[in-house]
Amino acid sequence: MEDRSTYKRRNIFSGFMFGVGLVAFIDEAVFHQLLHWHHFYDLSSTTLGLVSDGFFHALSWFATVGGLFLFADLRRRRGLIPLRWSGAVLVGSGVFQLYDGLIQHKLFRIHQIRYGVDIFYYDLVWNIIAVLLIAAGIWCIRLSRGKEHVR
């Protein structure tokens, strides 16, 4: 039998991965496909940006699917702590959004959030939301400290 702390760590890992995948998916579905705010490819992109984008995209699919299977595994083993898992989802979402907003959009310039508008406020809102998500997630994880596993 694995001990409690293994499950505690696994709740964080599973939730974080799913959070990363979820935000990547929302970004792709909402901003690329529905709103058409982002472009498929911004012609000013650097090679490094293209490579980093490719790896993050590949990882995000694995994070979504793998994170959910880990969630199922935790339930199967009766090791799920819902508040802790949800907190990790929030942290994962926030970290990915902050990475996307600072590194991918600003440093590598793969694409911008939107074109033909003053981008500053969009960037500000994007990254403030990311920081808020991370803070809320950490708060949830702290609250979950005394919590027992779901039986």
């Binding site: 590949a58 990882l59 699919w61 699917v65 299977f69 595994d73």
Partner: protein, 254 residues
Amino acid sequence: MYVERLALIIASCCILSYLLAMKYSAKRFKTWPLRKLVLFVSGIVIGLQAVAGPIAMHAHHSFVYHMIGHLLLGMLGPLLLILSQPVTLLLRALSQSGARSVSRVFRSRYARFLIHPITAAVLNIGGLWLLYTTHLFHLMHESALVSMLVHLHVFAAGYLFTLAMLYTDPVPYRKSYLYRVIVFVFALAGHGILSKYLYANPPMGIAPADARQGAMLMYYGGDLIDLTIIVILCWQWYQAAAPKTSLSAAKAAE
């Protein structure tokens, strides 16, 4: 024209062999499930679209159609085929000595090298980079022989890669799930990066608008099929990692 006819003959022979193997396997083992026959036939028919028929015809002058053919021949067709487990069926259908010589081939050093996840990924994704970023793509439209060889490679490499990720047939010296996942991330990234590269740098002789549409199809279509493989791979992992003790036994122990 004769290439199309040849492909049709080979495809029919494959389906016929599968049916025959099903018949012989049923003599000594449980009946081979019908859904696997359906997977096999659809895999063959879908792969065939890249070589014969309307998609193949349009592929000569349209990059978008070429890319549809690539997705069917190199990704979807192989996935369906490996899920139909043709080698397992073959081993069941053959006599003991026949099966032994087949498994000897599979266990050979050469086969082991080919089915290694990294080799398979390099052959698959590396082959695509070679095809689209060199003169090969142009040459493929000039010579029927080159075109045939490229199609053969795309299919074989796609099959090898999918098999090396999912191990649906008896593969000797298996790599761990984590190992395969890491190789897969690199392969998936390589495919995505190539799609975006082609969006910005059209292959020789392809109009920019056509190249952009084709590249986006390659990106999202490839994602869809890769996502299916990821789900199957994680599902296999989840099954393999099931706790050894049953739930009732665990309860009794508490």
